[in-house]
């Protein structure tokens, strides 16, 4: 007997726009609107059909209001819970709940950012932490650097292993025409790049790009009305253990342990059933931590696990097949993109980077400084 939420909602449209460098003068909502147009067109719907809105922003304090106004809609249900980049994976579950409860009928999850062409760096409305400010850590990289250093100390994880994550991402990006960074790279090049906050170099960091994405979700009973093969939400869960890095109970283990366990339980699957993964790779340590915490390898073995191309094209476990935040795009908050990529993989639409026979995918969002962890398990009709 499956969980009552398993498979109740399905994704019937996805879209992205403005990835990399958006054409001159476009603002965040232009890029969001463009993404929404593409996703709704895939679903054969228009903006007038949207009555559920789920969005967060790096630029708008009241993102659901600004977005509803821009799109010209008056949704009957909206949610803008802000847990950083993980928000957009979290919205999958809140949208499914709202759809199941009949509070809305067409849910639009969307995001847009022009941070590269406007700010030229990370655009964030994140407040500074009063007990960190005097010591001037660079936000957010120093927090991730502290977690990385501790993982290296406890488990012998190496900078070479971190660099393997960046190289794998680039090799996937080279199979994705929409990915921003396409140049060849190597472990040596990553190691030789500029140190920002030890042990993380600029190449251990995600990109600073523009970009937007959108997802259309409906109740499973309606999927026959849509052209694209439905991709079902089999399970999803969110977890947090801290906000600021000094409050993280163990710098080598994230709350993905809890989000993963709960998501697997709802979905009735485990790590061995997952064919393709999208793991929020803000920094190279992230996929290492998440592979451990989500049960793909034991705690402390993530560094060895990602070495020798295991998560790269042709490896045993396809991770971040779009090129990830490290090489595809990272417009401030990346969480919607691993979901979109997993959907495309499960539909069999990923072109040169297609994972053969992928039926179950895992999209994992990260927010803050490893603070929010959100896991979603998606599946094709064959998995119902």
């Amino acid at each position: 007997m499956g969980h009552s939420l398993r498979g109740t909602a399905a994704i019937v449209g996805v879209g992205h726009a403005g990835m990399g460098e958006a054409a001159g003068g476009r603002n965040a909502l232009d890029i969001l609107g463009d993404s929404a147009r593409v996703a709704l067109a895939e679903a054969g719907l228009t903006i007038r059909d949207v009555d559920g809105l789920f969005t967060g922003s790096s630029f708008h304090f009241m993102p659901t209001l600004s977005t509803a106004e821009y799109l010209g809609i008056q949704p009957s249900y909206f949610d803008g819970s802000m847990i950083g980049g993980a928000s957009f994976v979290n919205y999958l579950s809140s949208a499914a709940l709202a759809l199941e409860a009949g509070l809305c009928n067409v849910a639009l999850i969307c995001y847009g950012s022009n941070q590269r062409t406007s700010v030229g760096g990370l655009a964030t409305m994140s407040e500074q932490q009063p007990y960190e400010v005097p010591y001037a850590p660079r936000y957010p990289i120093s927090s991730y650097a502290l977690a990385t250093a501790r993982h290296m100390y406890e488990y012998g994880t190496t900078r070479e292993q971190l660099a393997e994550v960046a190289v794998a991402a680039r090799r996937w990006a080279q199979l994705n025409p929409d990915a921003f960074e396409q140049a060849d790279t190597s472990v040596e090049e990553v190691l030789a790049s500029r140190m920002i906050s030890d042990p993380l170099t600029v190449r251990d960091c995600c990109l600073v790009t523009d970009g937007g994405g959108a997802i259309v979700m409906v109740r499973a009973e309606r999927v026959d009305d849509f052209e694209k093969p439905p991709i079902y939400l089999l399970g999803g869960s969110s977890a947090t253990r801290h906000r600021q890095i000094t409050s993280m109970p163990d710098l080598t283990e994230t709350a993905a342990v809890e989000s993963g366990q709960r998501a697997y339980e709802i979905a009735g699957v485990g790590p061995k059933d997952v064919d393709v993964l999208g793991l929020y790779d803000a920094f190279t340590i992230n996929p290492i931590l998440f592979l451990e915490d989500l049960g793909f390898c034991a705690k402390g073995e993530g560094g060895a696990f990602v070495a020798e191309g295991r998560i790269a094209p042709g490896g045993e476990l396809p991770v971040n097949t779009n090129g990830g935040g490290l090489s595809c795009c990272h417009p401030g908050m990346y969480g919607i993109f691993p979901v979109i990529e997993v959907v495309r993989q499960l539909r069999g639409e990923a072109g040169e980077r297609q994972v053969n026979g992928a039926d179950i995918g895992l999209a994992h969002g990260n927010g803050g400084v490893l603070s929010a962890q959100v896991t979603a398990i998606l599946g094709t009709a064959a998995t119902l």
């Binding site: 007990y131 005097p134 120093s142 502290l146 100390y153 906050s197 030890d198 890095i245 710098l251």
Partner: protein, 148 residues
């Protein structure tokens, strides 16, 4: 209508912490229900929810739990250390280890707290810094004299 508990009385915990530092005392709150010492300061215990928090002197002794070097450009002042210190009494805090090159700070090293005062546009700000324990640093009044 009477509520079940009294609201928090006195100065806010952030201000109290600052005031103690200004007097040369490194004090943290200790929960009288579960005995945990907590940081950052707040109005309830994050371990058990207890309300009765008393400011105790702490030893100032700690260990580097993790460390990084922020690679600030030379012309802007050069690289500096940012560390997480695990205090002997339990909680962790962000700080900086001084008196040693930023990249020579090691996880596991024993450190000792020192109170420093910085001028800010809003006035003075007292902060806790750390030196290697071997360096024989001092500066925390009543260090080691904490209760419990």
């Amino acid at each position: 209508m009477q509520s079940a508990v009294d609201t928090f009385q006195g100065d806010g915990p952030d201000r109290e912490f600052q005031n103690y530092l200004g007097r040369g005392e490194f004090r943290l709150q200790q929960c009288q229900a579960c005995n945990e010492t907590i940081f950052y300061p707040r109005v309830l215990c994050p371990h058990c929810g207890g309300f009765d928090l008393q400011w105790r002197l702490v030893s100032g002794e700690g260990v580097v739990y993790s460390t990084t070097v922020v690679r600030r450009r030379e012309e802007k002042g050069g690289p500096y250390n940012v560390a997480i210190i695990e205090l002997a009494e339990g909680p962790r805090m962000m700080s900086r280890v001084e008196g040693i090159a930023a990249d020579k700070v090691n996880i596991g090293s024993a450190v000792k707290a020192r109170i420093a005062t910085e001028s800010q546009p809003q006035g003075e700000r007292h902060i806790v810094l750390f030196d290697l324990a071997e360096a024989g640093s001092s500066g925390v009044a009543n260090a080691g004299g904490g209760a419990g």
